[in-house]
């Protein structure tokens, strides 16, 4: 401050006036801009339970120590209890040694009743609204395996209808799964027992796997899953039927929460005609080994894709 201040003249000079107006315009523009920005961000006020710090920094499934995993399981159990009022039993079930699962489905027997579809939804805690189903039953005219001729929405008073057969399709648990190959973050992989699983806490929701699957077996949570409290199945597995979050993929996992402790999948148990057979292909005494050894005809869906499914369709009275 070496220069003496100018004595105030009382009359603002022209430049001051212009500068003042410009500054005023500038600050009003800045305020209006900030206001508009705040208004644009306002929908975020409805955001609840999106993610927590623990979830955000959670490690990849294959890199978790047993200690990490027990913490994660406790977090999941707490969350489910908070949301549904039920304390679930969540387990991290590993594949069993000497076991490789295979599914066989008898197309001659299937009557298209869709009981498997609904048993699956109940067992695996799928969202009811919008409803996510892992199994799609195709109604096909006699003599054709061309899925472009399939009716997905058949709804007659009684099944089976004359002149048609029914083909339930779910994840085929391929030996060479395109979904695993395309996933950019290893969020889905094939386990030792042949089941392709998803780490729901690692999936980024790009839906590339959904585009890659030739069997349309994968489903996306387009919004927050909605399961009525009284319908929740509390017997859960980390890679299986624990409730999913908005924005991640899910699909059939051969009911890991059941099959890895020696039980049958829910779709098999409910089937009224015994069309579904499930078991360990490495055990020569198992039913599936018998079917694949003894039946003259069994097929893999879209065999020409080279996916080599562990899901076989056969024909037998």
């Amino acid at each position: 401050m070496s220069q003496p201040l100018q004595p105030p003249t009382g009359i603002p000079d022209e430049t001051d006036r212009l500068m003042g107006r410009r500054n005023f315009l500038r600050s009003s523009a800045a305020f209006a801009g900030l206001g508009a920005l705040a208004a644009s961000l306002s929908p975020l006020r409805d955001l609840q339970d999106y993610t927590s710090v623990d979830e955000f920094v959670q490690k990849y499934y294959k890199e978790m120590t047993p200690d990490d995993m027990s913490k994660v399981i406790k977090r999941i159990e707490d969350q489910v209890q908070r949301q549904y009022g039920i304390r679930p039993h969540v387990r991290d079930l590993k594949p069993m040694d000497g076991v490789e699962f295979v599914y066989c489905l008898n197309l001659t027997r299937c009557i298209g009743c869709r009981k498997c579809v609904h048993a699956c939804v109940a067992e695996n805690n799928q969202s009811r609204n919008p409803e996510i189903q892992y199994i799609r039953v195709l109604k096909l005219p006699h003599g054709s395996m061309d899925v472009d001729k399939a009716d997905h929405l058949y709804n007659p008073p009684a099944v089976p209808e004359k002149g048609y057969f029914y083909m339930p399709v779910q994840c085929q648990q391929c030996h060479n799964p395109p979904c695993v190959k395309v996933c950019p973050v290893h969020a889905t992989w094939q386990e030792k027992d042949g089941i392709t699983v998803i780490d729901y806490d690692w999936c980024i929701g790009c839906r590339y796997c959904e585009a890659a699957c030739p069997y349309w077996a994968r489903r996306f949570n387009f919004t927050k899953p909605d399961i009525p409290k009284e319908r929740l199945n509390p017997n859960m597995a980390y890679l299986g039927n624990r409730p999913r979050k908005q924005g991640v993929m899910e699909k059939c996992h051969f009911c890991v929460q059941r099959t890895r402790v020696g039980r049958y999948p829910a779709c098999l148990e409910v089937c009224p005609v015994g069309a579904r057979k499930f078991g360990n292909i490495l055990d020569p005494e198992s039913e599936v080994s018998y079917i694949l050894r003894e039946k003259r005809i069994f097929i893999q869906l879209k065999e020409e894709m080279g996916t080599n499914p562990r899901f076989f369709y056969y024909f037998e009275k």
């Binding site: 508009a36 920005l37 208004a39 644009s40 961000l41 306002s42 929908p43 975020l44 409805d46 955001l47 993610t51 955000f56 990849y60 919008p130 799609r136 195709l138 061309d146 899925v147 472009d148 001729k149 399939a150 997905h152 399709v169 395109p178 190959k181 395309v182 996933c183 950019p184 973050v185 290893h186 969020a187 690692w202 999936c203 980024i204 929701g205 790009c206 839906r207 590339y208 959904e210 585009a211 890659a212 699957c213 030739p214 069997y215 349309w216 994968r218 489903r219 996306f220 949570n221 387009f222 919004t223 927050k224 979050k245 908005q246 924005g247 991640v248 993929m249 879209k302 894709m305 080279g306």
Partner: protein
């Protein structure tokens, strides 16, 4: 060292400052774009909270206009190379000073691409799972991981080349060749790779016969190399109208011949594709049938694809005729080419791949209002970025913004030439 950093910060500060200065047309254009950006941001916040259910996508058609626009814009970004090749390989003088506008367009296009893939993610909060080192990038098996690498790499390359050349010009120094020529040549190959990798994203899916075809890659490049330079032609037309920057007719006509040849190749490949799909009559043509003719009473895309084909054909004939040496007709040909390819490479490529589903269900797709607003927001943001880049670079190239006039008082309003980009 400190002095260099200080100089660079002054440069950035002055560039940032000039982005907020212009005449009334500049303010109106930028204000309008900002409004659209904010509308898009608002729509995205709604989607972030409620999930992708607010879009028109479903388990049947699981990618929509986001990925469609992404695919188109990768092509636009890759097309910058069509200005770089004549300049750096064939020493074309006319295009020499203009090449930077193409590279800046590539930067803006990649920014839009990254925005479009981000809004398509179900869990954008988990983006870090893609970062090598801390995440689990499935490289080299997943084509999407290749795309992450090539797109970000291309962005860095172009930011480096443009930034270095502009800063050298600002300092009135001759750029050191070692510092940018190698990157220019890497960028040429890289540009081809970004669009090839994006094509492979689709081509690699054996379960989708519509995409699983070796012609998709070449068609991607042919269409990109016509739509991209067409956008650059329109951008240059705008630049030379609203600024004093000198752009010769000859430069525009050089670009015209690039668009012309690429468009002829593109139409030729289209004929190949249509012949192969329809003549053999096997069962895998359901998607093409849906796209071009409609299938079982579903035909939402039919009017779109025929519009696209008509635009491409008209544009090709205009470009072949000497008529388009007149710049008005050239502008028209470019607009038709851009719109035609946007439809064809976007909706026309992505959506039919999902219809019918691999299990034969026919579910159609229409983008929702919210989804459309998000798209408009991203386009507005991209245009905003490109306008700012031009606003900074034109005065630098003209020498009105340089180190030598650093200490002079800053111009405060529309006294300076103003740049605005082309309406894409």
């Amino acid at each position: 060292m400190i002095r260099a950093a200080k100089d660079y910060l002054t440069f950035l500060w002055r560039c940032g400052r000039i982005a907020f200065v212009g005449d009334w047309r500049y303010y109106a254009w930028m204000g309008g774009l900002t409004v659209f950006c904010l509308l898009g941001l608002h729509a995205y916040c709604i989607q972030f909270v409620h999930g992708l259910i607010v879009t028109g996508m479903s388990d049947e058609v699981s990618w929509g206009v986001y990925i469609a626009n992404f695919t188109f814009l990768v092509g636009v970004a890759a097309a910058a190379v069509m200005m770089v090749i004549p300049v750096y390989i064939y020493d074309n003088e006319e295009l020499h000073d203009l090449v930077i506008f193409g590279e800046l367009l590539a930067v803006a296009a990649i920014i839009m691409c990254l925005a479009f893939v981000t809004v398509d993610l179900g869990r954008p909060d988990r983006f870090w799972h893609l970062i090598p080192g801390i995440g689990q990038l499935n490289f080299p098996r997943s084509m999407l991981s290749w795309d992450v690498i090539v797109l970000n790499g291309y962005l860095l390359l172009n930011v480096h080349i443009c930034g270095y050349l502009l800063y050298s010009r600002y300092q009135n120094r001759k750029p050191s060749k070692w510092f940018y020529i190698p990157f220019v040549f890497i960028a040429i190959f890289w540009a081809v790779s970004i669009h090839t990798v994006t094509a492979f994203l689709y081509v690699g899916l054996g379960g989708r016969p519509f995409w699983n075809s070796s012609i998709v890659g070449p068609r991607f490049l042919a269409s990109a190399f016509s739509a991209g330079p067409a956008i650059i032609i329109l951008a240059l037309q705008v630049i030379r109208r609203v600024t004093q920057y000198h752009i010769t007719n000859k430069a525009l006509l050089t670009l015209r011949s690039i668009v012309q040849v690429s468009m002829i190749i593109n139409v030729f490949l289209l004929i190949n594709e249509i012949f192969k799909e329809f003549y053999s009559g096997n069962l895998h043509v359901a998607s093409s049938r849906y796209l071009f003719l409609g299938l079982d009473g579903f035909h939402a895309l039919v009017p779109w694809i025929w519009t696209a084909i008509a635009f491409n054909l008209i544009s090709m004939f205009l470009l072949i005729l000497p008529l388009s040496r007149s710049l008005k007709w050239l502008d028209l040909a470019c607009v038709l080419c851009i719109v035609g390819i946007w439809i064809e490479k976007g909706m026309g490529l992505v959506i039919p791949g999902f219809i019918p589903t691999p299990l034969g269900a026919l579910i159609e797709y229409t983008p929702s209002m919210n989804e459309t607003l998000v798209c408009l927001g991203i386009w507005a943001f991209g245009l905003l970025c490109y306008t700012i880049f031009l606003r900074m670079s034109v005065p630098i190239l003209q020498g009105t913004l340089s180190k030598s006039n650093e200490h002079l008082p800053e111009p405060d309003s529309g006294a300076e030439p103003v740049a605005a980009p082309a309406p894409h």
